[in-house]
Subunit: 283 residues, 2 copies
């Protein structure tokens, strides 16, 4: 689920499960907060609550890092902060480049969460020549022609892609060719990368769609008692339904003669509109 790359046995990371790695930043954040309040130690129970996870899970996660706790007492906050930081590689400096300085790219450049954890924005890169030189978040935007030299000069190994979907794959390839081996992709596209390159994807639209699914289910459950199992339609949500798409039904997937599972509702409408739905790419 992590990387967008197809093939790969996943984990393997010196024994630390991927799921655990994904939670370490969470623990680290909670621990940092405790550290600031000068709390010396925490129990797994307290910390788990703060991080929003199960205490058994937390203990098991920590057990992969080593035995850093003290039975009968708990974990030393400062010590754990250090250990987790080290494990995550946050004790060193990670220069990153952001490619695509649109609304999202600019927001990322201004994002305080980066700098606070060892990530340094080494450069902002955009394909628009008009952007070049313009300062964003105190950093002058550079033209994409300089991409290769920027990466080489700064020893950048992590790249952030915030371009439109259409440009993402191309930018990705240039980043990889220039030496980047980790990519955080905000463009709504599946990136194809060679083995050895990690890709993580953040897709705002997908997150909303997943929420919509659950929302629909909730509405459907609460509203009416469904008759047929096939009748998945949520029975009109409680909210004002405005834009309802081409109301009609599923076209017939049948290749042959008879129209089979037209099941849905009316007989297919010519939803010519559907084809016009823009793939509308982001920022």
């Amino acid at each position: 689920m992590a990387t967008g790359r197809p093939h790969r046995p996943t984990t393997r990371a010196r024994g630390i499960p991927e799921a655990t790695v994904a939670r370490l930043p969470l623990y680290l954040r909670a621990l940092t907060a405790l550290s600031e309040r000068s709390v010396p130690t925490v129990s797994s129970e307290e910390l788990a609550t703060a991080a929003g996870v199960n205490s058994a899970k937390l203990r098991k996660d920590f057990s992969y890092l080593g035995s850093y706790g003290t039975r009968g007492v708990g974990y030393d906050v400062e010590y754990l902060v250090y250990q987790i930081s080290r494990e995550l590689g946050l004790t060193q400096d990670w220069p990153v480049v952001i490619v695509g300085i649109g609304n999202l790219g600019a927001a990322l450049a201004n994002y305080g969460g980066f700098a606070s954890r060892g990530f340094r924005v080494a450069a902002l890169i955009d394909a628009d020549a008009a952007m070049a030189g313009r300062p964003v978040a105190g950093i002058a935007v550079q033209h994409i022609d300089e991409l290769e030299s920027i990466i080489a000069d700064n020893g950048v190994s992590i790249g952030v892609i915030a371009t439109p979907a259409g440009a993402a794959q191309q930018v990705c390839e240039r980043l990889v060719a220039a030496g980047v081996t980790s990519i955080l992709n905000f463009a709504p596209t599946v990136l194809t990368v060679p083995d050895g390159v990690d890709v993580r994807k953040v897709d705002l639209s997908i997150e909303l769609q997943i929420l919509a699914f659950h929302e629909q289910r909730k509405a459907g459950e609460a509203a009416a008692a469904p008759d047929i199992t096939d009748m998945v339609t949520p029975v009109a949500p409680p909210v004002a339904a405005t834009r309802r798409r081409a109301d009609d039904a599923p076209v017939r997937p049948v290749v042959d003669g008879a129209a089979r599972h037209g099941a849905g509702d009316a007989g297919s409408g010519p939803d010519g509109s559907d084809g016009g739905r823009s793939a509308a790419m982001p920022a």
Copy 2:
């Protein structure tokens, strides 16, 4: 992994596994692209490649929705687009509110991917009175005092939180109290919500930290042959290491002897700075 909520048997969704739901938007996107190119049918193999997944997984995913394919032929593109859209609840209109119109909030408001899939930005809300009335992405920002009435008037059930971490929980509670039952959280905090409310979290900082972990591991493997297993330190990455934090070692977590961790952090590494490490919240 999905919701931020602790307790819950997960799935249950009328048989459709959570993991499958999370992939449906991916399939939908690939299908939409095909639809625009007027491709009539696709095989599971082709579609899987386009979506970046395994074909067997894709077929199993679709099998949860029903038998929408034709053996020997493949899947009817238009029909599948409709079915998945319906399953995800995208055939209806979902008004959303975005709370916190900073850099990120503004970027989200401008994000094209929302409108293209049935999501309509019903309102932009900010706590800063100076923002009120100012247009962002063509929509006038409204003050947070209006939050409850906005949600009620527009029948909003999905809220997006893009506030600083400190305000997130409070905003969350107001949203939920006002009737919102699905939340997309961009603030780096663990949100606590009552049962029945879904939360999805997007944390930019965490994604980067996960990448850093893998990056470090790659560097460590490639660079030197580690002596002791304890020696996890990646042996200086190929990049210019600048900021290396307190180079020294882990404090000792021992509870006994020394009156240790009163530790503003005097004892430990010299990094008095560490304590000052801002929890630095984002946009």
